[in-house]
């Protein structure tokens, strides 16, 4: 890559993936956790009796949200633990490159998990989830979730109570994403008319753009002292 900015984004992204590929600790944990959430939902909410499409979409997104916080927490605290965050901040580049690198690696982890959980869910509940619309929603929703998540995780790992803080900070902010993603996924699964779904898709798109832009602008303040 010629552009130093892009090269830095790419370097951070590749580094995270290489570390995960070496240790293989995060993605398997997220996957097992996701399956456990689905199992618990089954028992607690008796999902199968009325496996309506709306419930399916909701259960999937709650699962992704919870599994997502695990990933975010872990990749950011790995940076913090040996002071590696400082190492990144010492590099002569725009700090937003770090943000985008982390954004892409977390997005990759989340998408990998989703790409495995969706067919598994499909099998377990005997619902056909192979639907192009659903994939689009998954992508848009994950982008919004991770965009805010990386920003907040970089803040929460710098606090004393980092174990507990991230979900408390994150969930209220990403609630619009979750609601829109649930609605849009539900719509696609119920084969609703596109005109009914498109407001939700637009909302997701707007959210993604606004929060990526906002994160781009405020990330500097999150990491500086």
């Amino acid at each position: 890559m010629k552009n130093p900015y892009l090269r830095a984004v790419w370097a951070v992204f590749r580094k995270d993936l290489a570390a995960e590929f070496r240790s293989r600790e995060l993605i398997p944990a997220m996957l097992v956790f996701a399956v456990l959430v689905v199992l618990i939902f089954y028992f607690a909410l008796e999902l199968d009796v009325k496996a309506r499409t709306a419930i399916t979409a909701g259960a999937l997104w709650v699962t992704f949200s919870f599994a997502g916080t695990l990933g975010l927490n872990r990749t950011m605290s790995a940076e913090k633990d040996q002071g590696c965050l400082d190492g990144l901040l010492l590099a002569p580049l725009d700090r937003s490159a770090i943000y985008f690198g982390k954004f892409f690696s977390n997005l990759a982890f989340m998408l990998i998990v989703e790409v495995i959980v969706i067919p598994a869910y499909s099998l377990l509940y005997n619902i056909n989830l192979f639907n192009r619309g659903l994939l689009l929603v998954t992508l848009l929703g994950s982008v919004g979730y991770v965009a805010v998540g990386v920003l907040l995780a970089s803040m929460s790992v710098q606090t004393r109570t980092r174990d507990v803080l991230l979900p408390v900070l994150l969930f209220p902010l990403v609630l619009p994403v979750i609601v829109a993603a649930v609605k849009a996924s539900g719509g696609f699964l119920a084969a609703d008319a596109f005109t009914e779904i498109s407001p939700w898709l637009n909302l997701l798109l707007v959210y993604d753009i606004i929060f990526l832009a906002a994160a781009f602008m405020v990330f500097d303040y999150v990491v500086e002292e």
Binding site: V32, V35, L39, Y42, E46, D48, V49, N126
Partner: protein, 229 residues
């Protein structure tokens, strides 16, 4: 590399023969089931692999107690071997079960007590592997692994009980016609028991090989340390 002991060589051969024999039994001895036809033949391997999988988990729990008593890492390595091997057989059983469930119950998966317990059991042992992965100190890894297998062993019967209760109070939507009501001929029963026996032997053979592998890994580790010092 020490050569394989005689017994193991014999076991290799016996396992192979048993595998061939059981395959032959499935196709030439056991009658083809009237309703489901050929798919039903998956049944024998399904039952045998599921049984062997369970066996390994029980062995692992016993070895965990032995490890905590003796603190000999050997038992930990054997316990890990049992879990890994069992997970493989277990996975085969689940896949075969699914393949069979599709024509038998019209679905790949249903939340029937045994299947659900199986899923949770699988999760427990995957969690066990993740736990081990997060620990570098081999002694602590062994200790925590042993504790977790014991807790798992305690929890599984309760899980099964809870899911049984869960299911019997609520009506089961699908699959009530399968299972016990299936008429099995004597030939089918013979084939099934033969499979269970054969896979037990195969399991023991593979288990032995896996233990030997662990021993080699241990030796390699020691050599590495010697070189480094």
């Amino acid at each position: 590399m020490s050569p394989q002991p005689r017994t193991l060589k014999i076991l290799n051969l016996v396992s192979l023969l048993l595998l061939v024999a059981s395959t032959l039994l499935v196709f030439f001895y056991a009658p083809t089931e009237k309703v489901m036809g050929l798919v039903q033949k998956v049944f024998y391997v399904h039952v045998a692999t599921a049984w062997v999988g369970m066996l390994g988990f029980v062995v692992a729990a016993v070895l965990a107690v032995v490890y905590l008593r003796t603190k000999d890492l050997k038992w930990d390595a054997i316990g890990l071997a049992a879990v890994e091997l069992s997970l493989v057989f277990f996975f085969v059983a689940v896949v075969l079960g699914s393949i069979w469930a599709r024509p038998a119950w019209g679905t790949w998966w249903t939340w029937e007590p045994r299947l659900t317990t199986a899923a949770i059991l699988g999760m427990i042992y995957l969690a066990y592997l993740l736990l081990r992965q997060g620990i570098e100190d081999p002694v602590r890894r062994a200790r925590f692994g042993a504790i977790y297998t014991i807790l798992g062993g305690l929890s599984v019967p309760l899980t099964f009980l809870s899911i049984r209760l869960f299911r019997t109070i609520h009506p089961v939507l699908i699959g009530s016609g399968g299972g016990e009501s299936m008429g099995m001929t004597d030939e089918m029963l013979h084939t099934m028991f033969f499979h269970i026996a054969a896979f037990t032997v195969i399991f023991i053979t593979l288990f032995w090989h896996r233990i030997r592998l662990a021993q080699y890994a241990e030796k390699v580790e020691q050599r590495k340390l010697q070189v480094m010092q």
